[in-house]
Symmetry: C2
Subunit: 332 residues, 2 copies
């Protein structure tokens, strides 16, 4: 079935109000969750809401908590997320970074003791809408073996980079594992092989069998040693800049909470003009589009290009949701 | 044969003085080239010197040119590299970013019209030696097909991230292609398969045959769509922040010159204390080391760990250089 943006928004709003969110925060949460679905990322919206409510019930996510400033050097600020909802905290941190960048050219907000930000790309789109380049990353519980190891010793530590553009922002939103857990689930469910090796089997051999990878719990870093290295660097930077939890600190509780995140922004209007920057971006994207597709009838996309197509389609035709999932949400 | 650091340094110094570098700049160039060899990256030192001298002879690299400031917002500075030697420019930009970061907490120096920086890792080690976290990247000529394309429409745009640590800095230095051109050369020469697919053959199929990839000129982005996306973002950021050349602009001349680079630094002592930061880094590295190696007798390394081992060995036993290569250098 396909649900209109407004219907989904109202359902989320009802749930958040019932959970005890203030009107303003319930509205913002509902907006963020609905926009995530609108962009086709159900894994961090309709399929994540029960998990989110469970964390609230357990006290890991504190719905009224707001971030507090610990230290500022001017362009850099360190904040404590006080275990507030990760998406509200991340939205705040992104706005804060853009505010500073509009004055100083660039900014970095490091936030500790926050929570899972749901879809990371959200904050990239947000910064780009404000005319800022954004570089944003988070650590996570160690859920991936570093290259050369069969022990989970690093998080898949997602990275978001966004660049504003008139005909659709360029937004990269990627974890450091080659495939997401959701990809493993859908491929295992449909008994399909992954297109490329995505992790290890229980013998420690690389495999494209999603069910085997779910069993071993050992996903492959993207680009083997390269994604592994980048995940390690993101962990170091988030923990050091925020003076907060590193990946392994998140193992201390049974459920992941209190990760560290970094939000950097560069304000185009403060750094030499938005129009000029946007024309450079257009030229780069045009050049990429001018290449020969690898498959006949295929197309070469920039990061975020498909998201815009999905968003437009879902705005017009409604957001696709599994019937059972939607019934469950309506019953919450 | 193995050459001592001093012997190699003196040889490079002689060459640079003969080429017309001032005493000070010849000494610095010789130091950077020798340290690169010391760390085992011959591809950007003894194997690159003839290429570097050729670019000087052609006028693409101007040995006396120094960077000039275009614009400053405080933490952000835009510089023109004036086509000076890429390594001297990059060293300058890194120092400048660290200087600003020591005052403001963080900084970004964007530099346009510079030149190939030789080994990118150099500037990561340099910033870490100064107690700064560094995030540094460059664009390059389009030498890689973005994911979904068989046309070279993006550079392999290297990324360097460094974090200071007492027992050896953590330094990631990686291009966005899965393998380097040097790797293709050595595997093709020895008729060895790559350990994983590394590019396309002339039919547009993924292959682990290095000779085929060199023929097609189509290396694979690391992590397929992920490295492709990151390469596109690095291109956008370098060109926009420096208001300089994008990947495709570098095609205008027959030889690549005038790339755009970004140097970011975070000063640990300005951001809450070096000791604390270094203890977080130690904990993270200890946790990674505590994992089970994938192969018996193997070890799990953090980015830069092997570099330190190589450096120590080469300092003690001399830097390994191919006899013919060394003879050629002595004849320059």
């Amino acid at each position: 079935m396909r649900i209109s943006f407004d219907e989904m928004y109202n359902e989320f709003l009802r749930i958040f109000l019932k959970t005890g969110f203030s009107q303003e925060r319930a509205e913002l949460s509902a907006k963020l969750f609905t926009e995530t679905s609108l962009d086709g990322v159900q894994s961090h919206s309709v399929l994540r809401i029960d998990f989110f409510l469970d964390y609230i019930a357990k006290g890991f996510v504190k719905i009224d908590a707001e971030p507090s400033l610990i230290e500022s050097t001017g362009p850099f600020e360190r904040w404590d997320g006080n275990l507030g909802p990760g998406n509200l905290n991340a939205k705040f941190a992104t706005d804060r970074a853009c505010d500073i960048a509009d004055k100083q050219g660039m900014a970095c907000v490091a936030m500790r003791n926050t929570n899972h930000w749901m879809r990371g790309g959200t904050y990239g789109w947000q910064a780009a809408d404000r005319g800022c380049i954004a570089v944003i990353f988070t650590n996570t519980i160690p859920n991936m073996p570093p290259w050369g190891s069969l022990s989970r010793r690093v998080g898949n530590n997602p990275l978001v980079i966004a660049v504003p553009r008139n005909d659709g922002h360029v937004v990269l939103d990627m974890a450091m594992s080659q495939f997401s857990y959701g990809k493993f689930q859908s491929h295992a469910l449909n008994d399909e092989k992954l297109p490329f090796p995505g992790g290890y089997d229980s013998e420690g051999e690389l495999t494209d069998d999603a069910a085997e990878i779910m069993k071993s719990g050992l996903p492959l870093p993207m680009g083997y040693w390269k994604g592994s290295g980048l995940a390690i660097m993101i962990n170091l930077m988030t923990a050091i800049l925020s003076q907060g939890n590193a990946d392994h600190d998140l193992l201390k509780a049974r459920d992941e909470h209190g990760p560290s995140q970094v939000f950097m922004a560069f304000s185009l209007k403060r750094l030499g003009g938005e129009d000029f920057a946007r024309s450079i971006a257009d030229e780069i994207i045009d050049f990429i589009h001018s290449g020969e597709p690898a498959r006949e009838g295929g197309s070469v996309c920039y990061p975020g290009e498909r998201t815009i197509a999905t968003r437009m389609d879902n705005l017009k035709n409604g957001i696709p949701v599994n019937n059972n999932v939607w019934d469950k949400i309506k019953g919450m």
